[in-house]
């Protein structure tokens, strides 16, 4: 095998190896302990789940949809 091909195979193994190392770190760091809790990470007190943002084209009839949320921001969200 030429040097180039060997480097390609080794680099591929490095990518996979890096992925595996990341996985082991995640496992032992407790990243998978309470998996479903992770889904709340994009939200916080300032921008809580249940509050839509970015609804700039809508009228109030959009409130009739079935999923739970309270109130609606009528701006792009620049908090003016």
């Amino acid at each position: 095998m030429s040097t180039g091909a060997l480097i390609l195979v080794l680099s591929s193994l490095l990518i996979i190896g890096g992925g595996l190392a990341l996985f082991l770190w995640a496992f032992f760091n407790g990243q998978f302990d309470q998996i479903q809790k992770g889904s709340m990470l994009p939200f916080n007190e300032e921008e809580p789940a249940g509050k839509r943002t970015d609804q700039i084209f809508g009228d109030d009839d959009t409130l009739s949809e079935k999923e739970p949320y309270k109130g609606e921001e009528k701006t792009c969200g620049s908090r003016k």
Partner: protein, 475 residues
């Protein structure tokens, strides 16, 4: 205790956005410049496909120079610079720390832009490296990779200083992207791929991984953030999202050699790639189910949000292009579609309908937050969406449709080769029309962005540019 809680104070969302403002705007606006330049090159290249005599006297504007420069400016200018801006903003939000090394990133961004200008002149002057996706001279690639390494250092610092313990799935995708891409760029720049076969192997190992381990993770990270965020509804299954990420990390890297099916490379290389391509169905379907289940029942909220219009369109395109890709990788399918316009359409469903539309959507969310301003015109945003969405659909349908017929004609020994070319001409005209629609969309987007950043007649919200840069280094 949360990592980093000793070192870094608690920041509000608006403080994080304010700190990210200059660096994110700089990267995204640079990207928009290259989007416009790349679009101009695209139109020239597309028109030349059915009007070959047009501009024929100018050596600098021959198809063989304009077409690779279109690809390189879109990939390393628009998608990479804007993608990096979006990625850094997402990381700041999700790790709850400001973007680190901001001054150095701006410096890196300036060098990156200079390298793109130099590389562009070299390609137009006929100095292309002659390797697809790597036509820029090695010097340009090395500068770009070094700039990404500075950003990777910033990402690692943000990780170390983070104020959350658990990492959101978008963060996983972005860490991976910032670690993988420098490796790809550096390996592909080594002067060791000297024989044509090994060079072709490196070419597709690099190019496929740039798609799968740089642009795709940035695109998916954005989808996993903006869909729940805009709907105010957590992602349907967080477990599935992690399965999707680890599936991509495990299978994508082996895909590259499916570009060389039938080529003079060891069969086992190609067979591994075909198997890995089919295995990609698992993470792709997992992502699709998760996004679908999160969005289902919220159609109006999607329509009412400029961000989600683009992001949902992009997420659907990701599913489509990837499942199509798994089929394309089968030997029986590949022998028909290889060397046809079908692959060009697939490439644009990936890089445009998925990656570019995702970046547009991300900009519609991020820019008002970092500038604290509202978009100038709602109807122009709608025009931008419909022009680009209809444009890319026409592009994909026209070229994939004729691509299949072209493929069958090319493997039929009774059909003269010239017939396989002339039969595509009406569809190439349709492609030019679609290109004009997309270009109009880009002009509108640029105008909207320009109005957000430099409002005519208004007192600037930020100090003069050089003071601002000094401030970024000081903080």
């Amino acid at each position: 205790m949360d990592p980093g809680s000793k070192q870094s104070p608690e920041y509000s969302v608006s403080e994080l956005d304010r700190k990210a403002r200059f660096v994110v705007l700089f990267l995204i606006m640079s990207g928009v410049f290259w989007l416009l330049f790349g679009t101009l090159l695209a139109l020239v290249a597309s028109l030349k496909m059915h009007m070959p005599d047009w501009l024929a006297a100018s050596g600098w504007l021959t198809f063989g120079r304009v077409r690779p420069l279109h690809l390189n400016t879109m990939v390393y200018g628009w998608a990479s610079l804007t993608g990096a801006g979006v990625a850094l903003w997402l990381l700041s939000r999700l790790l709850k720390v400001p973007v680190m090394l901001r001054g150095y990133i701006i410096l890196a961004g300036v060098l990156w832009n200079i390298a793109l200008v130099v590389g562009s002149i070299q390609i137009l002057a006929g100095g292309s490296r002659g390797i697809e996706w790597l036509e820029f001279p090695v010097s340009t690639m090395v500068v770009i990779v070094l700039c990404v390494i500075i950003m990777s250092a910033s990402v690692l610092m943000m990780l170390a200083m983070r104020r959350v313990k658990q990492l959101y799935v978008s963060v996983w995708y972005l860490i991976a992207a910032f670690l993988w891409f420098p490796l790809l760029g550096l390996v592909s720049s080594l002067p060791i791929f000297d024989t044509p076969t090994v060079q072709a192997g490196m070419n597709w190992w690099y190019a496929h991984n740039a798609l799968g381990l740089w642009f795709t993770p940035i695109g998916l990270a954005a989808a996993y953030y903006f869909i729940p965020k805009v709907l105010g509804r957590p992602i349907y299954s967080y477990g599935l999202s992690l399965l999707g990420f680890w599936g991509l990390a495990l299978f994508y890297n082996w895909n590259g050699f499916h570009h060389l099916i039938g080529g003079p490379v060891p069969t086992w290389f190609v067979t591994i790639s075909i198997s890995a391509s089919v295995m990609m169905v698992i993470p792709v379907v997992v992502v699709a189910v998760n996004h679908h289940m999160t969005v289902v029942g919220s159609f109006r909220a999607v329509v009412n949000s400029p961000t989600l219009r683009f992001v949902v369109f992009a997420a659907m395109s990701y599913t489509f292009v990837s499942l199509q890709g798994s089929m394309q990788a089968l030997r029986s399918v590949n022998e028909v579609i290889h060397f046809t316009h079908f692959v060009v359409a697939h490439a644009h469903i990936g890089m445009y309908a998925f990656v570019t539309m995702m970046l547009f959507g991300a900009c519609y969310y991020i820019i008002p937050r970092v500038t604290m301003r509202e978009w100038h015109s709602k109807s122009l945003i709608k025009w931008h969406f419909w022009l680009t969405a209809i444009g890319v659909i026409i592009y994909a349908v026209a070229l994939q449709g004729i691509g299949v017929f072209q493929g069958f004609a090319m493997i039929d020994p009774d059909v003269p080769f010239t017939d396989t070319v002339t039969m595509t001409v009406p569809y190439l005209v349709a492609r030019s029309v679609s290109g004009i629609l997309m270009a109009a969309g880009h002009l509108i987007f640029t105008w909207l962005m320009f109005r957000m950043v430099w409002r005519p007649g208004e007192q600037p919200a930020t100090p003069l540019v050089w003071n601002k840069i000094k401030e970024e280094f000081a903080s």
